[in-house]
């Protein structure tokens, strides 16, 4: 598994965990005392901060662990180089495009909730859910492209 694949895998696992955390908390809130603006926005803030912090920490830890594993395996003479070349950038761009498409669908659905006379908090919840789903879709697309080799 290459350096880029490892980073994408870490990002995918992080986004999946945070999406599950968001959905569980949202369902508990929805079925319990109902959607309250303060709690929804607190959950929103928690999700955004957790996504940033956990992704950064996960990437750093993965790279440290893989560098140590590589040093043990190959000895200290051969240092693993982390190059990002044109193919990585192309896959990254295509993954970002998929993320934007999924997020656009989410924004459309969020606007549709107004048409269906749903409260504004539903719209905000759909937007944050699709921001996570868009990242997951982008990560899966990148992993598939790396697996296929193209």
């Amino acid at each position: 598994m290459s350096y880029q694949q490892r980073n994408v895998m870490v990002a995918l696992v992080t986004h999946l965990m945070i999406a599950v955390y968001f959905v569980i908390n949202w369902l508990v809130m929805y079925t319990g005392e109902g959607l309250v603006a303060k709690r929804v926005f607190t959950l929103w803030l928690t999700v955004i901060v957790a996504t940033i912090v956990v992704t950064i920490l996960g990437t750093i830890l993965t790279n440290i662990v893989s560098a140590i594993a590589n040093a043990i395996k190959n000895g200290s003479e051969k240092v693993e180089t982390f190059i990002e070349d044109e193919r990585d950038k192309l896959i990254d761009l295509k993954g970002t495009r998929i993320s934007y498409v999924v997020f656009c669908v989410g924004v459309g659905l969020a606007m549709l909730s107004f048409v269906l006379n749903q409260p504004a908090l539903i719209m905000f919840s759909v937007i944050i859910l699709f921001s996570l789903l868009s990242e997951i879709a982008g990560d899966i697309f990148k992993l598939v492209r790396y697996q296929r080799g193209a």
Binding site: Q4, I83, D85, D88, Y146, G149, A150
Partner: protein, 75 residues
């Protein structure tokens, strides 16, 4: 509309250069080994700049590394 194909002779050229490994070629061309694997198996078409770099590594003209063909059977 004819379907274009880009074939390459990287495997043959590596063999002719003392069995140069994909890792060595990747290092000399400044890309990852995965990119060389993708190019060699014709799953990825490199940029013109990278194509020239690969040709320069082998010391041959570009058209000895990459061959552009159109599939006339689909016309």
């Amino acid at each position: 509309m004819p379907k274009p194909h880009i074939h390459n002779n990287i495997r043959k050229l590596r063999f002719n250069h003392d069995e140069m490994t994909q890792e060595e070629l990747a290092e000399k061309a400044g890309v990852t080994r995965q990119t060389i694997i993708a190019i060699e198996s014709a799953k990825y078409s490199p940029s013109l700049e990278l194509a020239f770099k690969i040709a320069a590594v082998f010391g041959v003209p570009l058209d000895e590394v990459f061959v552009y063909e159109t599939d006339i059977s689909t016309e």
